[in-house]
């Protein structure tokens, strides 16, 4: 199909246009376009987990049980004091080693375990593929930005009018019901602006996927842009990396524009039937 299209372009437009068409649809470029899926999966998966961790963190911070409060506070403060890239690198490595340690307990002999080398034996090697790395990238993005989301959600829960909660209490709802049916349900409108901000941060952090050995858009951009002086490998060109990075630069800006529109729409939807003063919906 691509060849037919290329032929059509060379017949009806120009040979030059067909050459560029061929260049932009060669296997490497198609792989580049396809690798956008990793970025999107990591962004959406990470965001879903971030909301989950955010809710858990915020609930823990207002729990009646003090150790949960400390846990929630520790989680949000620790993550905020450490660079995101450190956690995104650390979590998959730590998780892999944890699993390998468990595998070693099963697979290796006592002598091998005591030898002090890692991994103790071949049976305790966990070979990770892109899928596993991608899942772990989602979890680490969720962990990092979940702490950010927890802070937003925590603030938003406070913004729910106290009179509503009191009314719920007067009607005889239990504590748990008040929390789940009133506080969590109503806080979204106050949390949305903050969550939109967290989403933007998370989206930008998806550029780190190449650090986890995932062949994402950044890695492909580097491969495609690298100078090619070998005619059999395709079009000869000098160092074009900056052009490919420029495309990524614009790609992320486009994603930001789209996200802004989406969140505006969400805010409009979430605030229907509510009368909010200008700027009140900021958590």
């Amino acid at each position: 199909m691509l060849e037919a299209l290329s032929l059509w372009i060379s017949n009806h437009v120009s040979a030059d246009a067909a050459m560029w068409f061929d260049y932009f649809t060669n296997g490497k470029h198609l792989a580049w376009y396809a690798s956008v899926r990793f970025t999107l999966i990591a962004a959406f998966g990470g965001a879903a987990l971030a909301v989950l961790f955010g809710l858990a963190g915020a609930s823990a911070r207002r729990s009646g049980f003090a150790p949960f409060r400390w846990l929630g506070w520790g989680y949000t403060t620790m993550v905020r004091g450490i660079p995101d890239v450190l956690i995104i690198l650390f979590f998959p490595l730590a998780f892999e080693q944890g699993v390998e340690w468990l595998m070693a307990q099963q697979a290796c002999s006592a002598a091998e375990l005591a030898s002090g080398v890692w991994p103790p034996c071949d049976g305790a090697q966990w070979y990770l593929s892109t899928t596993e790395y991608l899942i772990m990238a989602c979890v680490s993005l969720g962990l990092v930005y979940g702490a950010f989301a927890a802070n937003v959600v925590y603030g938003a829960m406070d913004a729910v009018p106290a009179s509503q909660l009191e009314a719920a209490k007067a009607y005889g709802f239990t504590k748990r019901q008040i929390f789940m049916r009133f506080q969590v349900r109503q806080m979204w409108i106050y949390a949305l602006p903050g969550l939109s901000n967290v989403w933007m941060l998370l989206l930008k952090a998806t550029a780190f996927l190449s650090l986890l050995q995932i062949a994402d858009i950044v890695l492909w951009a580097e491969r495609l842009g690298a100078p090619n002086y070998f005619a059999r490998a395709g079009m000869l060109h000098p160092d074009w990396r900056w052009r490919y990075y420029l495309v990524l630069f614009l790609f992320y800006i486009l994603m930001t524009v789209l996200s802004e529109y989406f969140f505006k729409f969400l805010e409009k939807r979430a605030s229907r039937g509510m009368r909010l003063n200008q700027g009140e919906a900021t958590a």
């Binding site: 403060t77 620790m78 905020r80 004091g81 450490i82 660079p83 995101d84 890239v85 450190l86 690198l89 650390f90 490595l93 730590a94 080693q97 890692w118 702490a147 950010f148 802070n151 937003v152 903050g194 901000n197 967290v198 933007m200 941060l201 930008k204 952090a205 998806t206 550029a207 780190f208 650090l211 950044v218 951009a221 580097e222 842009g225 000098p238 160092d239 074009w240 990396r241 900056w242 990075y245 420029l246 990524l248 630069f249 992320y252 800006i253 930001t256 524009v257």
Partner: protein
Amino acid sequence: MSEILPSFPNSAFVQDIVILAKPALFNIYFAFASIPFGFPFAVVLALMKNSSSGLVSRIARVYIYAFRGSPLFIQFFMFYSLMLAFNLSHWKPMGIDHIVMHPLFIGPLVLVLNTSAYAAEILYGALRAVPHLELEAAKAIGMNRLQTFRSVVWPNMIRLAWPAYTNEVIFLFHATAIVYFTLPVINDEKDLMNKAGELFEKDYNVFLHFSVAALYFLVISLMIFFVAGLIQKRLNRHKVPTDRQSLSYKPTFLR
């Protein structure tokens, strides 16, 4: 290492703290070389964005949007490869060779471009929040624009923007962790992430090395909060203290 620390001959933790002290200086350097340029640039950008001239305002808006809307990671790659493509490695400002392509130069350069966009947005918000009555009062007593800026706009803007700007400095400091993921490492000029990674590759002890690196980031962040808190107190010294302003660790989560 045991000669240096005879009392902790076997403590790998203490050894790591010693080994990572020098790399930490690189992170501190990247952050603090960027602030003296990034802050004035951010002020200029904020004023440009607030300008009544449509073109000037639009230029600042586009700049701020572009740099806030794309990952710093990509910006690093883009600027480094741009400079490579334009052969800037052969450029010798003031006859000094090998400076333009040096990570210690490009690192702060890109960080300045990035942080100034974020800081400009903060300062712009503060600029819009300068009390209107004070501006009117300045006009009423016949101050010109420069006088108004110096005695009304500037002090208010800085005071209002300071907490958010502190937060931005923390983000900037954390962003220094990715400098050496994108730029070449020359000799043993490694930052915390780099060195922690190198130590990790030797003994695969991920918990120890990355925790110590994280500890450095955490402690330096706390120190930045402390100093910024002192400045915050000084900026608000004319205010009647309603309740004691604490210098505790209160990170803001928005950038």
